[in-house]
Symmetry: C2
Subunit: 473 residues, 2 copies
């Protein structure tokens, strides 16, 4: 009896060993999807076990779904996964809180749709006349600017200009530390390719820009949220997340934070960098809303001197989202690796948008445009704060600048339900949970004050809130 | 004695089991890089083995490099991998046969450098006047075309125009089956994201466009080469590769093949599709040189009706490489998944290049431009064939159209060595092995006939070949 039990145990162990050996080969792809496994007889020989052990191992693996049997033909490694459908990678959420919901609703919206939930300015807030002039001037220029591939780093004079602009904010880097990209999104995507492997952990702010979450999903990595406060990430929770998840990257906004409109304080910046140094963490600082600041907030890259901070940005918000450019500012050894990845995935940047941007940025007109924009945004911010207050929403903070206002709904109302209702009235809202890894912003909503000037936004919102207007509202 | 051996064997099995359990946790990232392993005591408890078994397992895993010990502190999962340096992913090749060598030499070349090795036309072969006119016209147009994000699918009228153009070549697809991208490279990159996982196998032609190899490396997948013949891939070897590697994709050029200039024959296309169907293989047909054809060759997408074929292309070769656009034509369910990936990785396409392309393509000027281009290329092709012949090179075939000529060097000379020599004389050549997965094209070289008009190309080449000119050459 004892003997039989021993034998059974030993057999069990052998079955496990065979299973493990096969699992390892499939994981290492020495057994490819679709490949036939050795026959029972051959398997018994090669694993030096009895045929029944092989049968048992195969059947258990088949039960796990790793292999499947074709009657009369043997066992095969299961077919490779279906295509990467991003929507399937996360737990099935309400469609209105999926990161793609706001993107697609906003990007696909017709001219009759109001978009207080989108993250960009209306066309008439953009420097149209400067762009028209730049296009006419470029149409007369040497042809290579509108026929040839760009150089891998990008148009030289634009990189020099960017380096000078960054120096004004205390960020010191040479033009060869700047790699131009086709957008800020492409900048971040290249960095993810460079640093991440499937399964890695990445810290993000909670809440954060929803497309960070979509991109991290596409890279099959795990986004770990750190609560964001009015002065930057919650440092205690940040330290915990470092210890618990050993993240490879932290992705954040400096200057003006998306979606909260908050600004990183110098003391938080300093402590954050100390934590990052201890944990050997790389930080990606997305400066996308930097040009909207009245007073520049501290930049992590300025404090750190590009030891472990990478700065990215773009001109899609202030210049043109139709002729997009972005950039990466980073250590020279990283730039070198990023160039190869850029060539592999997009061959070369589009040079025309780079020439256009240079043409607008090089004289004083862009500064004047920004000055006017900041004033106009401040007015719209004040107006939106008044209007959301009148229907019972509470701004989380009053942002120092920019277009974003993060508001709490009254009475714990569900922002996703309201967004679903508003879209029927042709208003795209941005419900809080699209920004939240932990799904804890369900009663928040992000407003773009430049897209909220039309009073219909608040009529529709009010109806969706299903509340009557307050006195004086 | 027998007893001791038994115990030893049992212990060995237990050590293996503990090692496997830890390996699995690291692979599944439940034990993250940098994380501390359980102490010996705790490990012994949780694995229900003796402490000495845990010590042995940890030490063997440390010897494998999977974990490392910090004296006095315990064992830790080894640090995550360094950033993805593409150059390190392949066996260290001669720098001159790395896929990035030709790209970077060509893209970084100054105006004084001749580029017979590059894959695009000189600026004065591009439709400069048409582009100038389109830019002027766009500068007067409604501002949204040069300030706003594009829609996820891309500018509608351009997609309609592309669908009509494709129908002329027998490729039937509606405008909603066409997704505009920022380049042909981005089109292929999105498809790789959609279908591939690290470790997958992908079939390519041997030789093939070198940036396919760079992109596949960036996706950490295995490129499997199938020898290319004058009428398409070698079908016997193709069938073998299907059986041996169970590839997820096959990436190829229809129309004019890069680098050989060959054209797929109808019979090969038909048989290829039958093999693909049996193996449930998806085919990506890159039609990048299609507009250079005098007579359209068969398109796999036309035969297949977009069941398992995806067609991609761009206008970087015939219209502008500075305002780039590309596209993907595919089944609607695949397009839907690709849109999400496009948003995640680049948010929206740049609309300005799409409007520019539409402006040029919509009237007859682009057709006239193509007609002139084909005539001019045919002349340059004849001239280049004569010149390479004069210095002892043999064209592999005489292409029916396009800019590419694939030539064998005399006497088994090493193309990489010659390219290294020529670059010192400011001539960028394209040595054969940058195109070859199997590294069997070392005595081939690809010429761009439009970039080989300047006789200095052949003077430098001749000197690099270290041969005296032939009589009459």
């Amino acid at each position: 009896m004892a003997l039989t039990a021993d034998i059974r145990e030993a057999d069990g162990t052998r079955v496990e060993q065979v299973m493990e050996a096969i699992r390892r080969r499939i994981a290492a792809r020495t057994l490819q999807a679709g490949a036939r496994l050795p026959s029972i007889r051959k398997g018994a020989q090669s694993f030096a076990v009895s045929p029944s052990t092989v049968v048992e191992a195969y059947e258990r693996l088949a039960a796990e779904g790793l292999i499947r049997s074709r009657p009369g033909s043997g066992f095969y490694v299961s077919a490779p996964q279906a295509p990467l459908v991003l929507a399937d990678l996360a737990p099935r959420l309400d469609r209105a809180v999926d990161p793609f919901w706001v993107s697609r609703q906003s990007l696909e919206a017709g001219a009759d749709v109001l978009k207080p939930g989108c993250g960009w300015l209306p066309p008439d807030w953009m420097p149209q006349e400067d762009l028209r002039r730049a296009m006419r001037s470029l149409s007369r220029a040497t042809p290579s600017g509108f026929t040839d591939y760009g150089t891998p780093l990008g148009v030289g004079p634009l990189r020099q200009l960017l380096a000078r602009r960054m120096a004004e904010n205390g960020v010191e880097i040479g033009p060869d530390g700047i790699l131009l990209t086709d957008s800020g999104s492409q900048a971040l995507d290249l960095i993810c390719r460079f640093f991440l492997e499937p399964g890695d952990a990445v810290l993000v702010d909670d809440p954060c820009y929803f497309n960070f979450l979509a991109l991290l999903r596409a890279h099959r990595v795990k986004a770990v949220g750190v609560p964001y406060t009015a002065t930057g990430p919650d440092l205690e929770r940040f330290a915990e997340a470092l210890a618990d998840h050993r993240p490879r990257l932290y992705i954040t906004n400096s200057g003006i934070h998306n979606p909260t409109g908050a600004t990183l304080s110098p003391v938080t910046a300093h402590r954050l960098l100390k934590l990052a140094e201890q944990a050997r963490l790389t930080i990606v600082e997305d400066d996308i809303f930097g040009d909207f600041e009245h007073e520049p907030a501290p930049r992590l890259a300025a404090f750190d001197g590009f030891e472990r901070v990478i700065q990215i940005s773009s001109f899609s918000k202030t210049l043109s989202a139709a002729a997009r450019i972005g950039y990466i500012a980073a250590r020279p050894d990283w730039i070198e690796g990023l160039i190869d990845l850029k060539i592999a995935s997009s061959f070369a940047g589009s040079a025309l948008p780079q020439h256009l941007a240079y043409s607008v940025l090089k004289d004083g007109s862009y500064r004047r445009h920004l000055h006017g924009l900041r004033t106009r945004l401040a007015r719209a911010m004040g107006e939106t704060i008044r209007r959301v207050g009148a229907i019972g929403l509470t701004p989380w903070i009053e942002p120092r600048g920019g277009m974003l206002l993060w508001c709490r709904l009254p009475d714990g109302l569900d922002a996703a339900a309201i967004a679903r209702r508003a879209i029927k009235d042709n208003v795209v809202l941005a419900p809080g949970n699209v920004f939240s890894v932990s799904q804890t912003s369900g009663d928040f909503m992000r407003f773009n004050v430049a897209q909220s000037v039309d009073p219909r936004v608040f009529h529709v919102l009010e109806r969706a809130l299903d509340r009557s207007p307050k006195a004086g509202g």
